[in-house]
Assembly symmetry: C2
Homo-oligomer: 135 residues x 2
Amino acid sequence: MSKPIQRHSRQRQVILEELRMQTTHPTATELHQLAKQRLPNLSLGTVYRNLELLTRTGLIRRLDTRGGEARYDGDCTHHFHVRCLRCGRVNDAHGLSAAPVKEQVQTLDGYRILGYRLEFEGICPTCQKRPTRQR
Amino acid sequence: MSKPIQRHSRQRQVILEELRMQTTHPTATELHQLAKQRLPNLSLGTVYRNLELLTRTGLIRRLDTRGGEARYDGDCTHHFHVRCLRCGRVNDAHGLSAAPVKEQVQTLDGYRILGYRLEFEGICPTCQKRPTRQR
DNA sequence: TTTGCAATCAGGAACTATTATCAATTAAGG
DNA sequence: CCTTAATTGATAATAGTTCCTGATTGCAAA
């Protein structure tokens, strides 16, 4: 059972390009809408399949998500994110480092530590302007 | 529309107790199995409903999860987690401080920052012993 | 070129985790 | 007790994602 050869497909190319054009960390559905403008009968399944494949080969990053949809990031340099607790949008937080924290950890309960993720939570500018919903 | 009065139910009590007894940050399903031993006809819906309510009132914490199921933590003191990239289990990482990191950020792109989450990724002891799956 | 074949596709069904609905039950205050 | 509304179990519905089918396509060797 050898590793399958990855070949070049127009769909994958377009999906990757569209993701890289965005700074908004789109969801699979959003990306599907965008890419569909160039490939009208691109299926959502194909978008998911390729996002998975591109994530696996390290060309893009998949961002965790609080319950909702996964978001994707075309920028693989090490950086962090700020997530809006109201609307769920995600922005970059460049220029920060959690390296001092990482240095505190080599192993943790026998885990072999491979990396870390740091994410800030808050309210985005747009949501700050919007009145708070009634509970 | 006033806030409903929260009353005391046996189910909620048991769910909370079982969660607090665990150090493993169980998923809703796992917790359902555990609590069912004490309340045999406890429904999964009730578990979800109460986990949501307890999270909202701040008695427990819901942990983000990479795609799969949400996990819950009965310990609300501020601490971090290590997640196994292979099996998804989560352990605590007490005794670390990310305060220096937080101090780097007051506002970020106009966001009002309310908190941050730091999570380590690695391979847990059990999975280190298991041979790597073929790709 | 043409051909062979595995990688990839579109479309839709299936699956998984979670939330909503609803009639019946039950906690809590009067 | 009695009333009222929160809560429950059971079940249906939803959302996001993955899986399956048969058709298509990129690529390498003939």
